[in-house]
Amino acid sequence: MISFNHVTKSYGEEITAIDDVDFTVEQGKIVVLLGPSGCGKTTLLRMVNQLETITKGEIVINGENSKDLDPIELRRKIGYVIQSNGLFPNMTIEENVMLVPDLLGWSKKDKRERFSYLMKLIGLDAKDYGKRYPHELSGGQQQRIGVVRALAADPPVMLMDEPFGALDPIIRDKIQEEFLQIQREVKKTILFVSHDIDEAIKMADKIVLLRDGKIMQFDTPSEMLAHPKNEFVSQFFGKDRAIKGLSLHTVQNLREVIGLGPVDEAIQDTKTIHVHQDLRNTLSMLLNQEADQVIVKDEQDENIGTITIDMVQKYLHYEIKGKMSASQEG
């Protein structure tokens, strides 16, 4: 757990970079710091591992005030991932990944075991990749290594500063999925910086939206999309926030609320979609193809029904717009 208690950072009298920030990252959850550039999100992240100083207030990590901890000890207990992966070119992949365990004085056997476990997590062969150097890997592989390096000493807390920002959209999407999969297994407490709204919605349990060092709103993604607290928040998420919100809902959610249409066996060339896929993807699929329905398949690959644009619209109306108008009335 990471708690920010009225944290402020100012340079001299004039400039306040972080202004009375107060929120908590719960155990095992991902909180995304989101905001336009220069809003202080990276500064806030770097205050946790004392790469930046705190002017006022305190940060409490798992019950300990960060001020009372030795910065070196503290940093070794916190995983740290940065955008340009920060791998060391003079070290092999294994040396890179096992750097913190090495600093902590782990035995050779423990390091070897941990390394093969971590490489298995990201689906790379430990024997093959261990002896290679960073420049021999693709950008996506390097970033994966950057992530498992932060996990190496099994730290309870992780800081991630736009870790997937430098990757192309297709690889980014894949690595985000992969990372969420890993997170389900390792359950770290994660503070994650992003300027990408879609990434934030996808990764976050809760989002902190920042502007000029102040918190604009601290909420779950769906709440923030449905109930923007002020003009800035609703503008930041844009007019299409209802569509963005669709990526938080799956075909299964829709099925539970309004059910699926019948399968017409006569139609042959219709595309299919998995019941666990999100509605945003489903909608774009519907808009991209000429037929007005797609067939929904369940886990056993059985056809269980169909979905149309009208149904998505209906669901959107019930689930998202309904919530929105309720908030405007209240």
Binding site: R46, N49, L51, P71, I72, E73, L74, R75, R76, K77, I78, Y80, I82, Q83, S84, G86, L87, F88, P89, N90, M91, T92, L99, V100, L103, Y133, P134, H135, R149, L159
Partner: protein
């Protein structure tokens, strides 16, 4: 591509031919005879030359590398331009002037020559050390810090290995320059192969000139070759490719 290769080959073989012609001319005029007829003197001069270069280069490495490391520490970062300018200034003074100045302070002999050569070698080593460390990606240092590496661990495990290529290139430049400049040691009475070169000039004797100059050249080529091998061994495999690019 083919044309380029052809021109390259022509230039190369022309060069080989010129070198071969020079040796044939020198040998046919028995210009190398002094090396054999006065081999005892030759060996003394050669040894003096090598000792001059070794002592002054080692001193320069011992001073310039730590100075370069020190100046790149955050604490001293602001003073960097002062030291770089002082080192640059040292290089702009003609080598003969440095020798002449040193005579008035240290007198004539070995120590004066070593000191002048030492002053001359500091700059390339210092500058390459600073440039090598400065060129390391700041994000990499940030990652190292964020992972909980102590300053000395960052220096020895990240900064030095990744700037080894640049530092060694500086040392190589300094040593090769030094071998040539050490011929001037004759002027302050410190011996070395310069003795024969200057004798040759004074007496219009090509034999002395060439018996002194050619070994100096060969020495420089040999030093360059050996130091390149050292580079290959010392520079970590992973950072080698980056330096080439």
């Amino acid at each position: 591509m083919k044309r380029k290769k052809l021109i390259g080959n022509i230039v190369r073989y022309a060069l080989y031919a010129a070198v071969a012609a020079f040796f044939i001319w020198a040998i046919s005029n028995s210009y190398f005879d002094y090396i054999f007829s006065q081999s005892e003197t030759f060996l003394v001069l050669l040894r003096q030359h090598i000792v001059l270069v070794l002592v002054s280069s080692l001193l320069a490495i011992l001073i310039a590398v730590p100075a370069g490391i020190l100046i790149t520490r955050p604490k001293f970062k602001k003073a960097e331009w002062v030291f770089s300018n002082i080192a640059n200034l040292g290089q702009t003074i003609p080598s003969l002037a440095v020798l002449a100045l040193m005579i008035s302070i240290l007198g004539i002999g070995f120590q004066t020559a070593v000191f002048a050569l030492f002053i001359y070698s500091i700059l390339p080593i210092f500058r390459n050390t600073v440039a090598g460390i400065d060129s390391i990606d700041k994000n990499m240092i940030d990652a190292a810090k964020g992972m909980g590496m102590k300053p000395h661990q960052i220096l020895f495990r990240i900064e030095l290995p990744n700037s080894a290529y640049s530092i060694l290139a500086g040392i190589r430049t300094a040593v090769v320059l030094n071998i040539g400049t050490a011929a001037l040691a004759y002027v302050v009475g410190a011996g070395g192969l310069g003795v024969w070169i200057f004798t040759g000039i004074n007496l219009f004797d090509n034999g002395f000139l060439i018996s002194g100059a050619i070994p100096v050249t060969l020495l420089a080529i040999l030093a360059d070759y050996i130091l390149r091998k050292v580079e290959y061994i010392v520079v970590p495999k992973g950072s080698r490719r980056i330096e080439k690019a």
